[in-house]
């Protein structure tokens, strides 16, 4: 990834540019010490003077009221747009887009150093040389004086949910909740005075920089995630990109583009003096810098690199995408004639989004793309699957398109909260979309792709702990669609989202702890994860729902992997896993190709071939996978062989017994029991009319109340249940405590002889 810098031949400002901001319709506003507000239109390359400021007014900061708040949806679009200017004389000015000063407010003693609108635009946060941090209403009325410190506060930032505030205090960073009673978090962050800090809304990470010439990354608890090398000069400006993937750093004659994990993508040394302010455009493709020599520098992010199987795509300068097929060495040049906002490559397709239009290219035919129209210029998310792709924008919400450019569905998700979605919190598969709730981070909403409606009548998946990232399995039938998610404690969980017989709540299974990141394979249901600095691959995670004991055996850990702790999984395509180390290096590791082949055999029920493959490879993990697959597919012969191969003698016996059962229903029910799903087994029995079997199942599991309930409902074997319960109690030497049983006591006569004969009768019936 590179930066393409564009300078003006002659600086438009005669003195230093103090601040820049992007307006609502992607034009740039800059203010300089020459008392000018300039408006830049980069399409036509023109600059216009908005308004001259009074002599003696030196501006320190500018911030545009967030567009969605200013418009308030579409209803109040006639409302004039405003921005805030802070001045060295202690005032801040609310200025309309035409340059008229609407209001001037005396805010601080000494200079006001910064002012930021909250993300919803309802509040304004100011900080000044007097060490005060204040919050104002939109009309400029003082709401609260949040903090008062001894030294000037150089920088502030809102938390992603706008209910906390980050500010700098000398060498420390402070997070201050807005509720007056809550305690602030306070930590020493740098060895010098901190000049800038920014909190990303997309990934909840804080970046700070100061006079110790370093920039550092923090999580919201104040733990240091990354500390940079020493620079030549103090860090003067920092800014997160809107999607939270990148941030840019400015200093004297220095401009740096960094990845969200801290390592630097590229370094530029423009001779522009100190870069005092940086702001990203809302689409995240470029940012503007305010330079001390009067230049307003525009930096575009170019040369994004994408890979998928044998295809490589590079998004170059001037809206050109170069696609290379590595196998044939054929190269294609795709020209788009407009700024490329988002690009995604996968499943044989390349989707590129420009303002107001999307282009879909097929890898078999690069020359004629399918186009579709968009309602907005900024798309926050673009995710591809095998058949569809998902586009998220603030105006029209979440849209699912097919590769023919047809709109498949609109996901019924609140439009306003689309902007905060990221790759970590949204996942799409062929039939399902999973989205973590914006406010309740423990909740995941699951939607059907075809209809856009929420699954299970809008009952979301609720977890006990905040969920950090989630991912849906990409292949296999819908009934096997699994959602893997990581919570804040780094525990990995798995759940089936589209079971054929849905239960009340989503059934989740824990796969283990200390997991850093996860990725599903693109073509088979294999799950890869980084745990403890090593790569772990579950060859067949579905086994967690059928036979949990097999799960550890299907897990393979790469022992020789040499990546450090915080490596991130980038993709898991074919039998190659791509990881990004914390220094930015990409590491490819290969995974055994056999599980994928085994998955294919199992999907097409070629059990003989699957067994043969396992015998050939002689890998216990593969046998364990086969055991799980065969049990799931109810192929008992293969399952028996596979269990024997992994030395699970008890299972072999069990399966042999199941095989000997006369009726298909019995076998299915027993298999369900074998897979630890007694409810499922009971349902099968009841459906087949084998009430006694269902009762017996419950008595065997000491599930007395349910057994009695069934017996009473079907008016059969009530005495049997009571007899077994009595026997059980006498063996334990305790008394009856269950109300229902006490009620029934004495009403039914218990005679073991009749019960035994009845049972015999039932069993004979079953054999016929």
């Amino acid at each position: 990834m590179r930066l393409k810098l564009s300078y003006q031949e002659h600086p438009k400002h005669s003195e230093l540019v103090s601040c820049v901001t992007w307006g609502s319709s992607s034009e740039l506003y800059s203010v300089g010490d020459d008392h000018l507000i300039l408006k830049w239109d980069f399409k036509s390359g023109e600059t216009t003077q908005v308004a001259p400021l009074q002599k003696g007014t030196y501006v320190t900061h500018i911030d545009w009221l967030p567009a969605q708040a200013a418009g308030g949806g579409r209803k109040q679009s006639s409302r004039p747009e405003i921005f805030v200017l802070t001045c060295t004389d202690g005032r801040f000015l609310l200025v309309s887009s035409l340059g008229r000063v609407e209001k001037a407010v005396e805010a601080h003693k000494g200079a006001v150093l910064g002012a930021l609108w909250s993300h919803d635009g309802t509040a304004l946060l100011t900080n000044g040389e007097d060490g005060a941090v204040k919050i104002w209403s939109r009309s400029g009325m003082l709401r609260t004086s949040l903090a008062q410190s001894a030294s000037p506060v150089y920088s502030t930032s809102w938390s992603p949910d706008s209910d906390q505030v980050l500010y700098t205090n000398g060498k420390s960073l402070v997070i201050r909740p807005l509720q007056p009673a809550a305690k602030p978090t306070h930590w020493k962050a740098h060895d010098g005075v901190i000049l800038v800090a920014d909190w990303s809304t997309a990934n909840n990470t804080i970046v700070s920089g100061g006079e110790d010439r370093k920039y550092k990354l923090w999580d919201c608890y104040g733990r240091c995630l990354y500390s940079s090398l020493l620079h030549d000069s103090p860090i003067a400006s920092l800014s997160w990109s809107p999607d939270g993937e990148l941030f840019s750093v400015g200093a004297f004659n220095t401009l740096r583009l960094c990845d969200k994990s801290g390592w630097s993508h590229c370094l530029e040394k423009p001779s522009t003096g100190t870069i005092g302010a940086l702001t990203w455009s809302s689409d995240g493709t470029q940012f503007a810098c305010a330079c001390s020599n009067g230049q307003t520098l525009l930096a575009q992010v170019v040369n994004r690199h994408l890979e998928w199987h044998n295809l490589e795509a590079v998004v170059g300068e001037d809206s050109i995408i170069r696609v290379k097929d590595v196998l044939t060495d054929a190269e294609e040049r795709l020209e788009l004639h407009d700024r490329i906002v988002k690009v995604s490559l996968g499943w044989g397709h390349l989707v590129a989004i420009t303002p107001l239009q999307g282009f879909i290219y097929n890898s078999r035919n690069w020359t004629t793309p399918v186009t579709f129209d968009l309602k907005t210029t900024t798309v926050s998310l673009l995710l591809l699957t095998d058949r569809h792709f998902l586009v998220a924008d603030n105006v029209s919400g979440l849209l699912v398109y097919s590769y023919e450019g047809r709109l498949v569905s609109t996901v019924k998700y609140p439009r306003g909260s689309v902007a905060s979605l990221s790759v970590l919190t949204v996942s799409i598969s062929v039939d399902t979309i999973a989205i973590r709730d914006k406010k309740e981070e423990k909740v995941v909403h699951l939607f059907d792709v075809a209809s856009g409606k929420e699954l299970r009548e809008g009952k979301p998946l609720c977890h006990k702990v905040e969920i950090v990232s989630l991912s849906l399995s990409q292949s296999g039938p819908g009934s096997q669609r699994q959602l893997a998610f990581l919570d804040q404690n780094h525990d990995l969980f798995l759940t089936l989202v589209r079971e054929t017989t849905p239960t009340q709540t989503y059934q989740t299974v824990s796969l283990g702890g200390m997991v850093g990141s996860i990725a599903w394979n693109d073509s088979t249901n294999m799950l890869a994860a980084v745990t403890d600095g090593r790569l772990a691959v579950w060859y067949h995670p579905l086994v967690a729902f059928t036979n949990k004991d097999l799960l550890p055996q299907t897990l393979v850990r790469q022992e020789d992997s040499n990546f450090k702790k915080s490596a991130q999984l980038v993709q898991f395509v074919g039998n190659c896993c791509v990881l990004r180390r914390d220094d930015g290096a990409l590491i490819t590791t290969s995974v055994s190709p056999f599980p994928a082949i085994l998955h294919q055999y199992a999907a097409s029920s070629k059990w003989d071939a699957a067994t043969k493959l396992c015998r050939f490879v002689k890998d216990p993990a593969l046998w364990a996978c086969l055991a799980g697959m065969a049990t799931n597919a109810r192929d008992l012969n293969t399952a028996e062989v596979a269990y024997a191969a992994v030395n699970e003698i008890d299972k072999v016996h069990y399966i042999a017994e199941i095989k000997a059962l006369p009726s298909a229903e019995c076998r299915n029910a027993e298999l369900a029991l074998f897979s630890h799903r007694p409810q499922h087994a009971e349902a099968i029995y009841l459906q087949a009319g084998m009430v006694y079997k269902a009762i017996q199942l419950n008595t065997d599991l000491f599930n007395w109340e349910r057994a009695l309930q069934l017996a009473l409902k079907h008016k059969t074997h009530v005495d049997t249940v009571l007899a077994f319960r009595e026997k059980h109690l006498t063996e334990l030497g305790s008394k009856e405590t269950l109300a229902k049983f006490i009620e029934c006591q004495g009403k039914v006569k218990i005679d073991w002889d009749t019960i035994r004969s009845k049972i015999e009768n039932e069993e004979n019936r079953g054999l016929q």
Partner: protein, 131 residues
């Protein structure tokens, strides 16, 4: 006509028989003095013009020297600033170099990992051949 020896006391005749108030000797010396004075004034004048032109020349020279001096100082400063510029340029290049080195290291690690993958895959295909 004969020259009277002494026409009147206090009056004298000269050779051209004109009547004079001064004694002829004195008159002659006075005359000589006047001549000499005139000569002196002329020479002084000449000297002044000479000195004047000399001063002019020296002034010009001084100006020239001053100019050269300023030039020298400027050149010296320029030299110093070039050295400084070099330094900062060197620093910038070094920063870029470190950046490139880090990128190279990243690519090296990636290359190593890809080589490992290739080796793994070769092993698998060889296994196939043996069995």
């Amino acid at each position: 006509m004969a020259v009277p020896a002494q026409p009147l006391p206090g009056y004298f005749y000269d050779e051209l028989s004109k009547i004079r108030v001064l004694e002829p000797d004195t008159a002659q010396t006075t005359d000589e003095l006047r001549e000499e004075c005139k000569d002196f004034v002329d020479r002084i004048g000449e000297f002044q013009s000479l000195v004047g032109s000399f001063i002019g020349m020296v002034d010009g020279l001084a100006q020239e020297v001053e100019k050269e001096k300023m030039k020298a100082i400027g050149a010296r400063n320029l030299l110093k600033s070039i050295a400084r510029e070099r330094d900062s340029q060197k620093q910038q290049l070094q920063a870029l170099l470190i950046e490139k080195k880090m990128e190279l290291e990243r690519l090296r690690v990636q290359y190593e990992s890809l080589k490992q993958v290739e080796q793994d895959q070769q092993e698998i295909t060889e296994d196939f051949g043996l069995k």
